[in-house]
Amino acid sequence: MKLKSTTLRAFTALHSWVGLCAGFALFVAFYAGAITVFQQPVQQWASPRTVAAASLDDMQGLLDHVLATHQEARIRLGMTFPGYAGNSPTAYWPDRHGTWQFASPEQPDGGPTLPGAALPELINALHYSLGLPLAGMYLMGVVSLLYGIALVSGLIIHLPRLTKDLFALRPGRNLKRFWQDAHNAIGVLSLPFHAVFAVTGAMLCLSVVLMMAIGPLAYRGQLLGASATAMDTAPQRPVTGVAATLAPVSTWVAQARAVARQQGLRDFEPRYLKLSHAGDSHATVEITGEVPHAMATGTLALDAHDGTLLADQLPGQRDANHATLAWAYALHFGDYGNALVQWLYLLLGLGGAFLFYSGNLLWIETRRRRQQAEQRRSSRLMARATVGVCIGVCVAISSAAVAAQWLPRLGLSVDNGERWACFVSWALCLLWACLRTPAQAARELLWLAAVVTAMVPLAHGMATGAWFWRSAAAGQTAIAAVDLGALALAAGFAAMARASARRARTGEPNSVWADTRE
């Protein structure tokens, strides 16, 4: 397809604008999201003490206690199995005001705080909402749409020279060309991964708003009502008002495994359950679990009293709705396959963060005045914002991790302290970037990121004695990997700081990145 030069220019302008509007949020989403892939190891790493692996009996005890003490939990309750989201099971249900309550064997009476360390959830909140309240998620939904537009327009601009340029990484004096090559190569090579995130990210953040908007137009107002049935496995059963006793969790698990085996799926491993109308004779339980070598999860719906199978959506047998949903979740969260997939997601996530960072650098470089030292105000502002927001969030996440280890030892509240450490350090980085020249700010904040990130394993070792070589020797490789990952990131930041310093000293003088004058 040959595009007219005016159309190509329009695509280039569109790509730049949506990239600029969404780039900062996307950098945060990708950097935090890359770490969120390892949510469970980070949870173990940040937990003040290692909780011993719980059993199904512990889960049963927690379920009985929650149902006996919280009337609302009888209407609707979810529960993770031990070993899925941490060693302990967690029960969760909405109270009468709609606020989610959480309980674990350690906090059986429940409360609005998610059990376990707050650090992984803080990083996850940065990933999906920039740490903002509810509107943050919708904002990220819009950002996902802009991201999709940037991907398509970027591909269209690059398409005519795709094969020629793809592997042409040209280092040398022309820095802009080098950044452009790296931006294009990473963008194109990881395109399927980015396409998956643009689509699933938009769906996860915007589906409810979208369904409310298109429902009356195309579905006669029935879309929202039908969506629950399309996404749940259990059939809707009316409450009878007749009391009945629940079968034990072990019976549900045994029945779910037996049904899965009958369908040729061996080793069905339950991950979480959803129980509704507990105590009523029409109580139902949905058990979602993994099957080795099957892509995405499968769900069975059972009668909660006798374990009779009501319906199932297992791999190979799922309808279009459930298969789409299971695939979308699995692809977004990278929770299929083995550790290799997770490491790949980490690398591609960091590569994505680079894509948005390099996009901003290219925007600045394209507008550079080569013949005069004074650069445009817009370039200086963009450079400051890029350094403050992007390097700032790296400092912020590492600060929160350091705080997670040291705050309890200082007798301070971990949850609030981590948030303060995160957002105050981020704000200070932004302020610093405003006060210094872009070249100074880039160099200094990169060194700061290197130092704070290198402090992550140090803080962990000093606080718990679990130095990474000890964790590795004790077979706790996931915990050691968090420390080693932080060290690797710190080395990366230090290398970038040195490169920035070198660029400022010896690179082309007329640039916002040069140590001459602004």
Binding site: S144, I149, T200, M203, L217, A218, A226, A230
Partner: protein
């Protein structure tokens, strides 16, 4: 560029709604059985329409074409639903 892109955003939204609705309701079986794939497909299709809108010669053409297509699509869908020819 903005006039054309905004055509992709505003009438483009209604056009994609119509297309999604028509496909979902015209597929064999009840529309509910393809609900999740339809909602999932919405955003990529909308992005596609926004990008494709830059191919129009100008903003006016983009708004007129996309608006007319969206209106026709939604009217057709409503007619089919009202006549009970799709379910």
């Amino acid at each position: 560029m903005w006039a054309r892109a905004s055509a992709g955003v505003v009438p483009g939204f209604f056009l994609v709604t119509a297309v999604i609705g028509l496909v979902d309701w015209l597929l064999p079986g009840p529309w509910q059985s393809a609900l999740v794939p339809s909602v999932l497909a919405f955003c990529p299709l909308w992005v596609g329409v926004i990008c494709a809108s830059l191919q129009f010669a100008g903003g006016r053409q983009a708004w007129l074409w996309l608006g007319a297509l969206a209106g026709t699509g939604l009217l057709l869908l409503h007619a089919l639903q009202t006549l009970d020819w799709v379910r």
